[in-house]
Amino acid sequence: MSKLFEPYLMNVEEVITETVDTKTLKLGFADPEVAEKFTFRAGQFGEYSVYGKGEATFCIASSPTRSKGFIECSVKKFGRVTTELHELNVGDQMGFRGPYGNWFPLEDMFGHNLLFVAGGIGLAPVRSIIWNCLDMRDKFKKVTILYGARSVDDLVYKRELEEWGKMNDVELILTVDPGGETPEWKGHVGFVPTTLEKVAPAAEDCKVVTCGPPIMIKFTVLSLTKLGFADKDIITTLEMKMKCGLGKCGRCNIGHIYVCKDGPVFTYEQIKQFPQEF
């Protein structure tokens, strides 16, 4: 690669407002040649840049099986770059570098039961792998999706949640934090780990993919362990500040691990080995 830091130019093709502070952007490659060549795996991330404001790291939220020539990302308004991403309109251009990092071990998951546990905007990377799996549904046994958010309004990908709910071969469990429910709410009420323990999915022959805020991951993993899931079957993706995505800028270090190169996808077994600094 000769121009390491030069992003691909992307056209904003569609902007979907998910919640008050989350938007999903559909980005098409400006260069058709790149669009043709570009491939990625579920779980990989990229550097999205708004020119003049800087770069930020997000995962690619679309599934490789369903996005040819474009990618999608879901952004929650937080800092400088995410705020600017929210300002973009259809037709604007932005930059994208990637894909970087490792991916969810899809092949290892073949022939197992699957459990997806996500919280808040953490559904974005999980959505990528969910669609990837659903598009090869016959390779897996039972598929369960547990998704929680702060309130009903904070649930992202509402359309797709509905779609998953209608599928016969997918069990969808939705939950909102206490106080976030509306009178019409039919799902569970309670934090994700609590709901998880209440639902108590079977641990045998099951692979778990989890993502969410750090505090949620921490307690979810504890609950999963309590339910009898093996450490190596719990797969999560970590969030660290990254600038280069190439294993050089040094800020995503956890011990000798570079999250951008060795991660962001790790099993709980691996994470237990890291120094506790994330």
């Binding site: 030069e6 003049g52 800092g79 500040k241 600038k243």
Partner: protein
């Protein structure tokens, strides 16, 4: 073997600078000797310990990566060109040695073309140290050498008003042939070896690392309470990072509005903002940031790339505002950390 006088060395720098950028130690108006691009305006000073390290030649503190322009939401971008044929003169052997470590980092998996191209196309002319050139020097403790030739193309050793020349690579041989009018025949062949021996023996009193293999025990003692105590003195400035030969962390920032550029800028793990995300700060405490610096150099880097990321130039010791001495830190760790394989009990 050849010889070059001091006057000729100055003239050589001036002549080379007509054709290509020359990176050489110069004295600025406040009397600080530091490497800079030769412009003829500042006085060249050879053999004095430079304030900053030579990594700047390949990895400047801020460097434009690309320029862009936005019109009606459409972006035009252009990769910034750079010159790669450089001459680095008067580099300390420790500075030259640091390139080995940075080569590993900038070349693993993804090649950083800015670093790699410059590395490949530049000539390094080094000046050997006659001994410790500041109180902080301790290169002999970390497998360095005041006459080291790692990454060096031509090594000069000062003897009175002239320098004995040792050619250390093919590139260096070609360089001397191209600029042969500045060099003369050296009569005294054995002198170079004598000078080297003298320099090596003069390092006896420099700060000592008790156990250079300390890194083996550091990783397992990540939670040791000693870190809190060691970091109390740190005021979290960027001096050690900015002056260090091997610190390489950087930040990428955009500057400008509708037309502007993307800059790569040094960053340091001692700053709070280094890892701070809007939602989450993985290293909120002083001691965690301080530990990251020490661990990265002497622990993580070794595990990843097989060598300690420190060339023992001693700049951080000389210029730390509160006199945090890295050799003392390592020795203190050596004393308190339990033996290999055992883990400290964390009482906090």
């Amino acid at each position: 073997m050849d010889k070059i006088t001091k006057d000729n060395l100055d003239k050589l720098a001036a002549q080379l600078a007509e054709k290509q950028p020359v990176f050489a130690p110069q004295e600025d108006s406040s009397g600080v000797v530091a490497y800079d691009w030769y412009s003829g305006k500042k006085k060249l000073v050879w053999g004095v310990k430079t304030r900053r390290s030579a990594k700047e030649a390949y990895f400047p503190q801020s460097e434009t990566l690309l320029k862009y322009r936005i019109r009606d939401g459409k972006v035009e971008q252009e990769n910034k060109e750079f010159t790669s044929a450089l001459v680095l003169m008067g580099i300390h052997p420790c500075d030259a040695r640091s390139f080995t470590m940075l080569d590993k980092l900038f070349g693993w998996d993804y090649d950083d073309e800015r670093w790699q191209e410059r590395r490949k196309n530049s000539v390094i002319i080094s000046i050997a140290c006659p001994g410790p050139i500041s109180e902080g020097c301790f290169c002999m403790n970390f497998r360095g050498n005041p006459f080291g030739t790692e990454n060096v193309d031509v090594l000069l050793a000062k003897d009175g008003d002239a320098y004995h020349v040792k050619v250390a690579s093919e590139k260096g041989e070609k360089f001397i042939k191209d600029n042969s009018k500045f060099f003369s025949e050296d009569g005294d062949e054995g002198r170079f070896g004598q000078l080297q021996q003298k320099a090596e023996t003069s390092f006896v009193n420099s700060p000592r690392i008790d156990d250079p293999d300390i890194w083996k025990r550091m990783q397992q003692n990540f939670d040791h309470p000693i870190w809190r105590e060691l970091s109390l003195k740190c005021i979290e400035c960027g001096i050690c990072t900015w002056l260090c030969c091997t610190c390489h962390c950087f930040d990428i920032q955009d500057e400008g509005g509708f037309g502007g550029k993307r800059e790569r800028i040094w960053d340091g793990c001692s700053f709070k903002e280094f890892t701070k995300m809007p939602s989450h700060q993985p290293r909120p405490a002083y001691f965690q940031r301080y530990r990251q610096r020490i661990m990265h150099k002497y622990g993580y880097f070794v595990e990843r790339f097989g060598m300690i990321a420190c060339v023992a130039c001693g700049r951080c010791i000389d210029h730390c505002p509160t006199n945090i001495d890295i050799t003392q830190i390592l020795n203190k760790l050596n004393q308190v950390l339990p033996a290999e394989g055992e883990k400290a009990v964390c009482n906090e």
